[in-house]
Symmetry: C2
Subunit: 221 residues, 2 copies
DNA sequence: CGGGTCATTTTTGAATGCAAAATGTCGTCC
DNA sequence: GGACGACATTTTGCATTCAAAAATGACCCG
């Protein structure tokens, strides 16, 4: 229903809103990796004082987006290539779980949402939108598991990985491949073939992870 | 102060210490489910003001231990039997992952730690200690994956499940069974049989989850 | 005697203020 | 000319304070 949200903003508690806005700032790449978090500036921008902002900082630190250095300010958590491997490894496991559960538990409504998300990816209006639509698709599958614990963990991982999207998006070759894999995923989903679906999702994740690592390596080289 | 807990107290940032102490209070069951969090009291007890305490509250809310009700205070997140199922489902997936990875990646040091933890369980000094030793054992396996992302997620789940320990501990029958399953787990681990280890861990988790659900149902009935 | 309204108290959420720590600047000395 | 150290500035972390919202209770009226 609602928004693929260009910016998560109006939902839930005020505290949650701040957390979301702050996370959006980080995900948008407005702040370079390792950059100091400009508390004062963000307070101005959000029209709040330091107290609620710092509460949000602590939460985002716990989520892994920010690094808290005692008495020396917070910085944007730098992207560590080793950790990227760990993130994808974890995500692969969750994808498998999602595949097995979604195949069994998806309601008609879930299926419709998944189909819709998949269809939207067939003709992405622009490359920049691809990432958001892609996330929408995978999230629709995660929703179909009807396991909120899994969903939350998966969401968090997705967002952490999202920080790397700029290195993925720019590869049209990989985008094409990715859509092909989605087609396969949909075949398995429509057949409600749980093991096949799980395997395809895991493989898809693995390939994406490899593409990311390749690009990261290429950049740093 | 009757805090025998040799655990989470003096480590890391002051902020982290507060989070840990507060989480310990919740895990110790000092506050009933759904009970209001007595901010003022905890401030006194920890010798801090409300600002850092509230930062910790937000973090614990994000971790799922506390429920934040706008303008109406925070409460201890009530245990929802349905969510317990979701927690164990998720934990089962992670256990599988742990099994597959630990079998392959465990160093000699990891193996030693795992053996030690297992041996400690053979003759638990008292039933009350069983839970802690049990967690130690499973955590040792998680450590052997050398994936910090997985470890953090697993730790969080363990702690959330830990809130239910009182319903598990009191079943000596289940404790015996559990140790038997651990024996099998060790056989698979020593042989570095990744698929076998994964399956045994998952099965062990499933059985534990069922025992918890049974007890929960018995209580509410 | 019960139900409802309004004032009082308590609690919550956020802004401000303050002490300590870190950072940056500049002068001095080698 | 460069390195070191004292001083000023900024930033951080926390306590305190303040306004608004909810809980409590007193009172009135039917």
């Amino acid at each position: 229903m609602a928004a693929p949200a260009p910016e998560a903003s109006e939902a839930g508690t005020l505290h949650e809103q701040i957390v979301n806005k702050l996370r959006a700032v980080l995900l948008n790449g407005e702040l370079a990796d390792g950059a100091r978090i400009p508390e004062a500036q963000l307070c101005l921008r959000f029209g709040i004082s330091r107290t609620p902002l710092r509460e949000a900082l602590k939460v985002l630190a716990a989520e892994g987006f920010i690094e808290l250095r005692p008495n020396r300010g917070s910085i944007v958590a730098p992207i560590d290539p080793v950790e990227v491997g760990h993130l994808f490894e974890m995500k692969g496991t969750l994808e498998q779980m999602i595949g097995r559960l979604a195949a069994v538990r998806a309601t008609a409504e879930d299926a419709a949402r998944i189909e819709r998300a998949h269809a939207a990816l067939a003709s992405p209006p622009e490359p920049a939108a691809y990432t958001a639509l892609n996330q929408e698709f995978h999230r629709a599958l995660a929703l179909a598991t009807h396991n909120p614990v899994l969903l939350q963990s998966y969401d968090n991982l997705q967002k952490r990985v999202l920080r790397l999207r700029f290195v993925v998006n720019e590869n049209p070759q990989r985008v094409l491949e990715s859509f092909g894999e989605h087609e396969g995923i949909m075949v398995a989903f429509r057949a409600r073939a749980r093991l096949d679906l799980a395997e395809r999702l895991e493989e898809h994740n693995r390939l994406t992870g490899e593409a990311v690592r390749r690009t990261l390596k290429g950049e740093s080289a």
